[in-house]
């Protein structure tokens, strides 16, 4: 079972779908952010799986892309939390329905 890539692909798509459900149904912006993190990690699992099961030796380009995914995820969390804090100080709320009130 651990020598079959289909198991890892199923795990990755299940995790991606859990993140998609989180993004589509949450009303709290921090919850939506957690869903984005789940989706990024699911795509990382896919990259590592295909670099391990390709042709007998490890293809390192999948690892490099996963490094870039981790960097993107961390920077995205920083900028999103700055936006959330600014929005909270401005409107006293972090509901996603109040995002339509943002101006300039």
């Amino acid at each position: 079972m651990a020598n079959n890539p289909i198991v890892f692909l199923f795990l990755s798509s299940s995790l991606f779908v859990l993140g998609l459900i989180t993004i589509l149904t949450r009303r709290n912006i921090i919850g939506v952010l957690m869903g984005i993190e789940l989706m990024l990690n699911a795509s990382g699992i896919n990259f590592i799986t295909f670099s391990f099961f390709k042709n007998g030796f490890i293809l390192v380009s999948g690892h490099v892309f996963t490094v870039f995914i981790i960097v993107l995820g961390a920077s995205e969390v920083v900028i999103a939390l700055a936006i959330i804090l600014a929005m909270y100080h401005q409107q006293n709320s972090i509901s996603i329905e109040n995002l339509k009130d943002l101006k300039g």
Binding site: I6, V7, L15, I45, F52, H63, V67, I70, A74, S75
Partner: protein, 180 residues
């Protein structure tokens, strides 16, 4: 056989954390679910011989991102209308859409013929370092430039006088609307 047992345990851990993130009613439980799920993802990376990625995932995500998320919902709790609650919104259409997506995904995995061969376990840190400084040197530099940009941008965005000015503008606009 031992590897299979470890894999089943790690898959259980990852999906359990993901289910907590997606369906829990409290934001604190969601954050701990994210923590458990990321530990499971790091275990998957170790099983697939990605030692450097697993260690950096534990350091950056579990040590940085999850702690940052927890601090941010501690800062936004209190008199907000949502606070630490984590309510759902149109959950039935969301689940139906996601089911359509996963059916498409499973169909495409099962019908494509993946030819594979298992690799040996090798240390990958040296390979990643060589590759980052040879083939991928331009994306590497762009990523560091982007990190500097994001740090400056987030520091500017949460400055105090800027927030106060925006709040005054916001209240003024609301007042004008109410006056009309």
């Amino acid at each position: 056989m031992f590897k299979d047992a470890v894999l089943i345990f790690i898959i259980f851990l990852t999906l359990l954390g993901g289910i907590f993130v997606a369906f829990s009613g409290s934001l604190v439980t969601s954050a701990f679910g994210l923590l458990i799920s990321l530990i499971g993802v790091a275990g998957i990376y170790i099983l697939l011989s990605a030692d450097f990625i697993a260690v950096s995932l534990v350091m950056i995500y579990i040590g940085g991102v999850v702690i940052l998320i927890m601090i941010s919902f501690m800062l936004t709790r209190g008199f907000g209308e949502i606070g630490t609650a984590n309510p759902h919104y149109k959950i039935i259409p969301g689940i139906i859409m996601s089911l359509g997506f996963i059916i498409l995904n499973i169909y495409s995995i099962l019908t494509s013929e993946i030819s594979y061969s298992v690799s040996q376990y090798t240390p990958t840190t040296k390979l990643i370092g060589n590759s980052l400084l040879k083939e991928y040197v331009l994306p590497f530099e762009l990523a560091s430039f982007m990190i500097v940009l994001f740090i400056i941008g987030s520091a500017v965005m949460v400055r105090k006088e800027m927030i106060v000015r925006k709040k005054i503008d916001f209240i003024d606009e609301r007042g004008e609307k109410d006056g009309e």
